[in-house]
Structures are given as C-alpha cells and as structure tokens.
C-alpha cells in the first residue's frame, strides 16, 4: 500500500465527520465559551477600573481630611495665641488699673492724713495756748488786762519754741 494515496472511504468519513464536528462546535460550542471569556474579561477590567476609582476617591478623601485637620490645628493655634494675647492684655490692664487705684488711694490717704495732722496740730496748738494761758494766769495770779494781746504773745512764744 502506498501511504501517499488517500483512501476514498476514510476521506469520505473524514469529510463528513469533520464537517459535522465543525458545524456543531462552531455553532454551539466555541462562541458560547469565547463570549463568556470575553464577558469575564470585560467584567474584570470594569471591576479593576472601579476599584482604582474608589481608591483614588479614598485617597482624595484622606487628603481632604488631613487638610481639614491641618486647618483646624492652625486655627486652634491662632485662637490660642489670640487668647494668650488677650489674657496678657487683660492682666496688664487690670494691673494698671489696680496700680492707679492704689496710687489714688494712697494719695487720698496721704491727703487725709495731712489734713488730719494739721487739724490735730491746730488743736494741739489751741490746747497748748489755753494751757499756757491758764498756767500763766495761775503763775501770775492775776488776770491779764488784755486777753487778746496776751494770747498773741503766747502764740509767738510757742512758735519760737
């Protein structure tokens, strides 16, 4: 037998069965499979894309949150600094006020002390003058002719003392 000469019987069956197999598989087999594979591929691609988007969104949200936090911190710092300044200003103002009121009180006290002192001095002087007169009257034993003149003299004497 010559292997290079095709056998008609086998050729007949081969054409028939290959044709039938090709028809069956091309109609009901491979298109279903490739369609499912392509659909899955698209599905995976879509899922990857949406996952990427979600990641990006998450990242932007995170950045936003960090920005908010930083802003809040800066604001807090500002507020604290302002408050410190305000506090210092208030303390200073209070100190100044206290100082002035204290000065004023001291001044008033000094003035009233001065006045009191002068009044007391005058009282003392009066008392001393009348005491001196009384003493002088008793010493001399007679009533002075002119009270006023005597008094003047005594006052002069006291001043000299």
């Amino acid at each position: 037998m010559n292997p290079l000469i095709p056998d008609p019987g086998l050729l007949f069956w081969m054409v028939l069965s290959f044709g039938v197999v090709f028809f069956l598989l091309a109609k009901f087999g491979f298109p279903v499979i490739t369609k499912a594979i392509n659909e899955r591929k698209e599905f995976i691609e879509m899922s990857l894309l949406s996952a990427k988007e979600a990641n990006e969104r998450l990242a932007s949200i995170q950045a936003e949150g960090e920005k908010l936090l930083a802003d809040a911190k800066a604001k807090q710092k500002d507020i604290i600094a302002d408050a410190m300044q305000e506090k210092q200003r208030i303390v200073q103002a209070a100190q100044e006020e206290a100082q002035t009121s204290a000065d004023q009180m001291i001044e008033e006290a000094r003035q009233s002390i001065q006045a009191e002192k002068e009044r007391a001095l005058q009282d003392v002087r009066k008392e001393v003058a009348s005491l001196a007169l009384d003493i002088a009257e008793k010493v001399i034993g007679e009533r002075m002719k002119d009270d006023a003149t005597q008094r003047k003299t005594i006052e002069q004497l006291i001043d000299k003392l």
Partner: protein
C-alpha cells in the same frame, strides 16, 4: 498501536529461536501505518468492525470477521497482493466504493465524539455558571487552550474580523491535538495512525484552503492575478501570477504533508525501535538483553518527543492556517 505490535510479537517472541527469521519488520510497520478492517488488540483478539461496500449490485453491510483468514463473503475478499493489498476487493479483483468503518474511521469517530462532548460540555458549563465564576481544573485548562487559540493565534495572526475564523482554528487545533495524542496511546481507544494518514490531513488542509481563499477580500485575488510589480513580470508571460497561483495550492499542500509526514515518521521510529527487540532475539541472549534495554530507553525518549510533536504539529498547523488567512486579509 505499539502494544498491539508488542503483543503480537511477544507471541512470536516466545518461539523466537524458531520463528524470528519469519519476522518482516517493514511489513509489520506498514501494516500498522495503514488501515485495517478490524481492531487488533492481541493475538487472537480483535474487534470486528462493520464493512460497508457499495458495489454494482448494491450496498453490502457485514462484520469484518466474515473475511478473516482470506475467507470470501458475498463475493468479497481481502486482497493478498497487488495494488489493493489488504483492501476488500470483489471476485474480479476490483475495488467497490468502500466506506467501511475501519480502524481509522472508528478512531476518527472516537476523536469526534470526544471533541464534541468536551467542547459542548464546556459550553454548557459556561451557560450554567455565567461569566462571574472562574473555572478550575479541566474547564480552566480547556479555557486556557481555547483562549490561547482565540487571542494569541487567531487575533494575533488575522487581526480585524478574526472572530469569524477562530471557531474553525479551534476545531482544527483540538482535532489534530486529540488525534495525535490518541495515536500515542497504544491500547484500544487510541493507537490508530489517524493524523499520520494522508486522507485526514488532506481534509484538514482542504478546509484550510477554503478558509483562506473563500472568504478573502477582492484585493487578495488581485494580488494573485495582477500583482503590484513591473508590467513585464505579468503582461506577456504571466510569470508572477503563475507563481502566486501555484502558491495558493502549495500552502495547503505543505500543511497536508507536514502533519502527515511528522506523525507518520514518529510512528515509524517508535515501531522500528520496538522491533529491535525481536530482530535481535535470534542473535543470542546477551545481545538481545542489551539491545532490549537500549530499545526501551529510546522508545521512552521517542514517546516523550512524540508527545511534544503532537502539540507542536497541532499548533503549527493552526498558526500557519491563521497566518495564511491573515495574509489573505492583509489588503
């Protein structure tokens, strides 16, 4: 196929000292490479297959065991010699139209049934599970193969409009691969020399010829019969058109011969290596033992190589067909 031969020859081999000289290795190999009306499993054990003969007197259908040992049935017998050696002929020595279910035809049916059940089973899996479930195991493996042919062979080689051709390429790839692999299994469901038979590869190549030429755009035919070359190459004597026209037929012809020759050569080498055991049987025990070891080692090596060749030839046939289709659609 090898096991069958081994079994046959083992039976002979038990009587080796007496009968070894009767062993005709080339006859044995060519018997295997050809076809037979029964499926030989071991000595004395063969599956008879139906013979279907369309002669002048009408259609005759009977089992092949009616013709065993040169018997004549309904005027038909198996020719012992001549042009139709081993074939059924009528009393006058002429061939009827013989569409018997021979060993190769049965193997062809087994391959077709296997292919249909696997691929249609896969299709049902995808219909049932939709595309949101990832396949595993066998389905996953087949998906990888189908996807490879679809994307890396068809899409890569043909480009735009490849979807029309990819079912054909997948069919032809899986058909050749299954036939090649079944041919390597030496016991019953495999063992026939299907892709090493020119009728089978010729049919595959003719289908490739149809796929290449019958769906090509107008530019393809123009490039064959009126190519874009200086006028003297095509006008008085059509030199280039002739070359191009011959090329249209040499492409599928090369596909036919390449596949056929590769697979047949593989089978011949493995059978020859197996025969070494029995040829050396009469040369004494030491020679036979050492040559048997060599033969077995080489057979293992050749089988591994053939496994590789089974894939490579299926791939080569498919990718070349895809490339030819791609070239036809290039314009």
């Amino acid at each position: 196929m090898r096991a069958i031969i081994i079994y046959i020859i083992c039976a002979l081999g038990f009587a080796a000292p007496i009968r070894a000289e009767e062993l005709n290795v080339s006859k044995l190999i060519f018997e295997h490479l050809g076809d037979s009306y029964e499926w030989h499993i071991a000595k004395g054990l063969a599956i008879p297959l139906p013979c279907i003969l369309i002669g002048e007197e009408g259609v005759d259908v009977f089992m092949s065991d009616k013709l065993e040992h040169g018997a004549t049935y309904k005027g038909y017998h198996i020719a012992e010699e001549g042009d139709y050696e081993g074939k059924i002929v009528n009393a006058a020595g002429e061939r009827p139209f013989d569409i018997s279910i021979t060993k190769n035809v049965l193997e062809l049916f087994i391959v077709c049934i296997l292919l249909c059940s696997v691929v249609l089973g896969l299709a049902r899996w995808y219909k049932k599970n939709g595309f949101k479930k990832a396949p595993g195991g066998f389905v996953g493996m087949m998906e990888a193969v189908i996807n490879f042919i679809d994307k890396d062979v068809a899409k890569e080689s043909i480009g735009h409009g490849y979807e029309k051709f990819s079912p054909y390429l997948m069919t032809v790839f899986l058909f050749i691969l299954t036939s090649n692999l079944l041919g390597l299994i030496p016991i019953f469901p495999g063992g026939a020399n299907l892709t090493g038979n020119i009728a089978v590869t010729l049919t595959c190549a003719v289908s490739a010829f149809i796929a290449i030429n019958c769906f090509a755009p107008k530019g393809y035919y123009k490039s064959i019969f009126w190519p874009d070359v200086p006028i003297f190459l095509k006008a008085p004597i059509p030199i280039l058109p002739t070359i191009e026209f011959i090329g249209v037929f040499t492409k599928p012809f090369s596909l036919t011969v390449r596949l056929f020759a590769n697979i047949m050569a593989g089978h011949i080498i493995i059978l020859a290596l197996t025969s070494v055991v029995f040829v050396t049987a009469k040369m004494g025990a030491g020679m036979c033992a050492s040559m048997t070891a060599v033969s077995v080692l080489f057979c293992i090596f050749m089988n591994c190589l053939e496994l590789l060749v089974a894939f490579i030839q299926a791939y080569v046939f498919t990718i070349l067909t895809a490339n030819f289709i791609g070239l036809a659609h290039d314009e």
